[in-house]
């Protein structure tokens, strides 16, 4: 029988640093809740808003698969592998921090804020060679269907990471539903609602709610209003 966990939007951790407003689904920085440490290999789900002209200065990472998805505005990325790129709304960026990497992320726009999701997944092996990847997604490919945006396979759709994980985006009109088939044995799926109202099996979810489901091979996601959502399938044991 499927097991589930519900994280309502208003129960997330919150940090306001002036230029950065961040909601943490799981324990992060000064938000520590032993009941909210991770969902399987999914360790961080930060819902960040960065003020115009502000950003994260150069800082290190290691041994983590870091995925950034801009929801509004553009974010400039620079790293110690000499990558300089702008991640725009509609893009997805994946970075394997591995043995160690430095990077910065700035909102170069002087007038508009940036909203983006920063997602960290534990890697399936430590100390890999750092790598960076970024692609532009076609918005039409998730209209009333599930669009794969991440997988463990370099030759599959979307970006890839060092973990047996698959991410999908959906933008469903009211009344549309779809079945999701879990791809990896022992995997669970964490659903994060970007906007609107959806129902996972019998569980109603609203904007920015999170819902984990595991010990099942399939579930149904139905839009009860026009809705956008992100599905993150990850190993529950890793």
């Amino acid at each position: 029988m499927a097991q589930t966990i519900l994280h309502r939007a208003e129960t997330r951790g919150h940090a306001s640093h002036g230029w950065l407003n961040s909601y943490h689904t799981f324990s992060f920085a000064n938000y520590y809740n032993p009941e909210r440490m991770n969902f399987g290999a999914l360790r961080v789900l930060n819902d960040d808003t960065v003020d115009a002209g502000m950003g994260f200065g150069t800082h290190p990472h290691d041994n983590m698969e870091i995925i950034s998805i801009p929801l509004e505005g553009d974010l400039e990325h620079k790293d110690s592998m000499n990558n300089v790129a702008v991640i725009k709304n509609g893009d997805i960026q994946a970075m394997s921090a591995g043995t160690g990497i430095y990077h910065s992320e700035y909102n170069k726009d002087r007038q508009h804020r940036v909203k983006f999701l920063q997602i960290w997944v534990y890697p399936d092996k430590r100390n890999v060679e750092p790598r960076y990847d970024q692609i532009t997604l076609k918005a039409d490919d998730r209209h009333n269907k599930l669009q794969q945006i991440l997988s463990p396979n370099p030759n599959d759709q979307g970006v890839w990471i060092h973990q047996n994980a698959w991410f999908h985006l959906g933008r469903f009109d009211k009344g549309v539903s779809a079945s999701y088939e879990v791809k990896g044995k022992g995997n669970g799926v964490y659903v994060f609602v970007l906007s609107g109202d959806v129902k996972i099996n019998d569980q109603q979810l609203h904007t920015r709610d999170g819902f984990g489901i595991w010990d099942t091979d399939t579930f149904t996601i139905a839009a009860e209003s026009d809705a956008e959502f992100l599905l993150m399938e990850v190993p529950m044991k890793f």
Partner: protein, 104 residues
């Protein structure tokens, strides 16, 4: 004077090690000692009563196995935690979790 929680961090990446030390020491209740090499880690462990060991990046599997065995043989109740993220937002939670496991 308050006794600070003593934390040993082992990390092969020198700059990330310095970042982790700085971040740990930002908490006035914690005191961090860093080690780049196995020998530095063993020497530090022998000279201090650490409450927690954080294993950072770049430690070869054989070194990690040997170090963990040495720490456990020396102090069976020592809490040993894998650090992920490189001095990131996970650091505090990892330390809190490690310390809570130590008191079980």
């Amino acid at each position: 004077m308050m006794n600070k929680t003593q934390i040993l961090v082992i990390c092969r990446h020198a700059e990330i090690l310095q970042t982790i030390i700085r971040l740990v020491n930002n908490n006035p209740e914690w005191e961090c000692t860093g080690a780049n090499t196995d020998q530095q880690a063993i020497d530090a462990f022998n000279g201090n009563a650490f409450d927690l060991v954080l294993l950072g990046s770049g430690i070869e599997p054989s070194s990690e196995e040997n170090l963990v065995a040495f720490f456990r043989n020396s102090r069976p109740r020592i809490s040993i935690v894998q650090h992920y993220g490189g001095g990131s937002g996970l650091l505090s939670a990892e330390i809190y979790q490690g310390l809570s496991q130590k008191t079980l």
